[in-house]
Symmetry: C2
Subunit: 558 residues, 2 copies
């Protein structure tokens, strides 16, 4: 990966730049941290011309490593007002890798009302007028882009939410079947893309082969071992059958399933929305399991059809099932599928939206279990009504507007589907990550004492940051949960480097440090490592736990 | 002042507590800083049961010192999410001082739908059911309270905005004529009062005399000199005639009058809204000048009548004229009077509201100069429509909801009526104060170099914090703009202390330090000392200036 593409949306100029020396060994999330700290004044308005939107494949993007094609997207977040990297599966990461693109940096802002498609091919990069794509949902946009640019493309697009600059908006990434079912969902990056006047990014890697390893021998050895592992690991096998929906079982067992606006950890209708229920529905309607990116052998995605056996939605993750299901008191899988499809189409984060509708039950606008009303409210967002615009800002702003003080959000970002009272270790990661409440910042359960839990959270945050830097899917597990031999093996094999584990650990620490530094420069101090006070004051049934990790320990851990 | 009244709104219990040793020499703002840091976890939700609302008269409250009866109100701010003290004239500060009340601390939260009047007399303190006062505007509430409790009372009340927990809501304080024209306006303290279920505080000091000085000789000597000064100082004389409306002249001369959403420092219709215009309107309609508190010889307040010569509004300050006038392109004094009256009645901050309607011109909801529409929009707030609730959250949330990135706010609080590009020294105070953009944190114009300007701002912030601790009106000037002899003279005379200037300076620094510490504990780091980036990027006509004080200097100055 030899090139940085810089797109100035004020002048509409595109430049290809060589990769600076200090960025050579960075990719994905690490590269975004470096660029944001170097180029973006942390005090800028996140939707103003001085913010940058960055796309960066991981260090293994475009290679033959299985599950290595995740795309990192980053900017100053309009939701958290701090550092944000969100990554996604789908096919974009690999295609950018194969095109030799290390990063796309989008800066400036076009005149109002102008929207573009940024098109990348082997032969060059161009901005096409987006024409009549404006206000279309992601499904229509993606279909039109595939019709127009051919089937070899990958897309990143925003729905009406991103165009309306709503802070819960996502960037949708096309999957292997050309559907916008994958999302860099958290932190409102769709709004940053909207502010830059980019409706979609289209990448076509025609004529580009797979990235060839610089040290083929070493690479092949690791690849073989890794591929074998992926095929036999029992937990991966389980994921291949159940998808992330299996998380519902773990959540119910341990009492951390967000239910009715985080008022309980158990949902009495849970069997209607768990992995068995999804498997049944999938089969009944001729759905199937699939992989979001080429070369993935895990295939964790349910493709779900409607009653007429036409495609309805896919990538219905645990987070979505919990936040749009149990957290809203909705035990109807059909409704959850529709809500998921609408969120993907409008381009809004299912986690943030589930949290938002959850607190809205404290008003007259919504009641637990009312699926029809939930769909109506998503339409309010789609249509940009004032109420819709409020909801599209996510949990915290919705809470402020309606005078609600029980707000499940950290650093401005709605909490994912792990009640931290029953899963305290996760609460530590959620409160201490510079990214705001984000389960992919370092999922973990271990640790007896607070001290152990905090140390373990920091270790996990480092390992996860490295995975996001390599572009690796977290579900490959062994890279994360064992030593770092696979990481060093692949990175050295691909790039011909000679990194050792200590180098990667150093890099991981540096990634977190840079993210915290950006937050600090944005005015977000380390005391923002907090958990909403109701988690400390209200016991959560059925475990009866409260979150009791001392505040001081959360502060210290940055 | 010997007693702290603690009101627990969960249990509805009231306790009288002795003043702890470390609070004896504190009053007003300093006392609030001490109590908030001691008692309130900075990470709490500002509208939850763990926040405290504090009323504290100054160290000179209830004495015969002219202009010493300001009341400080404080809490964790729902607007800035950090430390907030806002103070107000009117008659409450003196009455609390005469009742011997050092502070009222309101904690906890009652069951939903319950609202109370907190009544304080020489004989005791009680919570009366607020009955049918709910949802009434401040003018009706205050009238009913005076009807019910007699003419010797002072009131603090909230309008519908405070009850609806809107973050731009104020606490209204009754003036000498029993009207709610005075407001502790900034930072959303009305919402904190609303969250505590307190519709009004009523203080009757019947049977209490003026606070007697412990050292009468010394006190009388200072009092005589001070009173003579107030009578002859030419600038005070000017204030007595023109009110703060004279600020319009200074602003126009120097090009810092916020005009059309901070797009210019000059308003071509300025002569329709300046001090001459107000003087003319006041006279035509049989209005007059008056003082907000007993013992004030400045009398800076215009009482403005409607066409039928019935009372319309008073305390139409420079800030209101600019933010609801020039900043909205409204050159009609009648309209501004109506807007001011409505803000006072609904209980919302005229500064925050003017800034909010200013940015709303970037949407289809409002256009510059449309006074009728501005009044309609205030009615939306009064009626609690979704749009009204958004606007009632102030500049920053309104900007987020409507995707506006040119936001005149610092630390979440809307900017007052001094364009920092033409008055950079003020920009320093606005960006560095822990209170958010607040002109009363340290109004100043001096300094040639950045270094001088920053040092001068820090000196001013210390002096202003001391004035807020004594309960003194800033318009007495000499206390601020000369040495601190008057402050030490009065404080020592009243309390029999022997403080020297250095003690007060130490106290002043400590006040600011505690406020910053609270912010830091709330997660607001010193890098939040920022100015919105458009002030750095857009030149302001007519001066053509940008705000160019280096960011690093703003950070350093905390």
């Amino acid at each position: 990966m030899t090139t940085i593409i810089r797109v100035n949306m004020t002048s509409l100029e595109i430049n290809r730049e060589p990769v600076p020396r200090n960025m050579e060994k960075l990719g994905g999330r690490a590269l975004i941290g470096e660029i944001l700290n170097q180029e973006v004044n942390a005090s800028c308005h996140p939707l103003g011309k001085n913010n940058r939107l960055i796309f960066a494949p991981g260090l293994l993007g475009g290679t033959a490593v299985p599950c290595s094609g995740r795309i990192s997207i980053g900017a100053k977040s309009p939701l958290t007002r701090g550092f944000k990297e969100a990554n996604s599966g789908g096919t974009l990461g690999h295609k950018l890798g194969r095109l030799g693109i290390k990063a796309i940096i989008i800066e400036g802002r076009p005149a109002k009302g102008h929207h573009y498609v940024l098109r990348l091919t082997k032969n060059g990069t161009a901005l096409d007028e987006a024409g009549d794509l404006g206000q279309l949902g992601n499904y229509d946009v993606t279909k039109r882009l595939f019709d127009q640019y051919g089937n070899n493309i990958a897309t990143a697009s925003i729905g009406p939410a991103g165009e309306m600059l709503l802070c819960a908006s996502t960037v949708a990434i096309s999957d292997q079947e050309g559907r916008p079912s994958r999302h860099a969902a958290r932190g409102g990056l769709g709004a940053v893309m909207g502010s830059k006047g980019i409706k979609a990014v289209v990448a076509d890697d025609k004529g580009c082969g797979v990235v060839k390893p610089k040290n083929p021998q070493a690479f092949k050895a690791v690849l073989k071992e890794f591929s074998n592992y992926l095929k036999v690991d029992p937990q991966i096998r389980s994921r291949s059958r159940h998808g992330t929906a299996e998380g519902i079982w773990h959540a119910v067992d341990a009492g951390w399933l967000p239910t009715r606006n985080f008022s309980s950890g158990h949902f009495e209708e849970v069997k209607k929305i768990d992995a068995d229920a999804i498997e049944k529905l999938t089969k009944e309607r001729s759905g199937y399991m699939t992989a979001c990116m080429p070369g993935c052998v895990i295939k964790c995605t349910h493709v779900l059809n409607d009653r007429d056996k036409n495609y309805l939605t896919s990538s219905l993750e645990y987070e979505t099932l919990a936040m749009l299901g149990s957290n809203l008191g909705i035990g109807n899988l059909d409704t959850i599928c529709l809500l998921d499809r609408m969120c993907d189409d409008i381009g809004i984060d299912t986690i943030e939206t589930g949290g938002t509708l959850g607190i809205l039950t404290e008003t007259d606008f919504f009641q637990f279990g009312d699926g029809e009303k939930a769909l109506d409210l998503l339409n309010e967002i789609r249509n940009g009504t004032t109420l819709g615009r409020v909801l599209g800002q996510g949990v915290e702003v919705t809470g402020r507007v309606f005078g609600i003080d029980r707000i499940p959000a950290i650093k401005g970002q709605g909490m994912p589907a792990y009640d931290p009272r029953a899963l305290k270790t996760m609460g530590i990661t959620l409160s201490t990550s510079a990214l705001g409440a984000d389960h992919t910042a370092g999922w973990m359960v271990k640790g007896e004492t607070y001290e152990e839990q905090i140390n373990h959270s920091m270790e996990r945050q480092i390992a996860f940051a490295l995975m996001d830097t390599l572009g690796m899917c977290l579900f490959t597990r062994i890279m994360l949960f064992d030593n770092l031999d696979y990481m060093t093996g692949f990175v050295n094999g691909v790039h011909g480097w000679d990194l050792i584990e200590a180098d990667l650990l150093e890099l991981g620490k540096d990634i977190l440090k840079k993210e915290r530094r950006f937050n600090e420069n944005a005015g977000i101090g380390f005391h923002a490592n907090q958990i909403p006070d109701f988690f400390r004051n209200e016991a959560c049934p059925p475990t009866g736990n409260i979150f009791d990790v001392p505040e001081e320990m959360l502060w210290r851990s940055s």
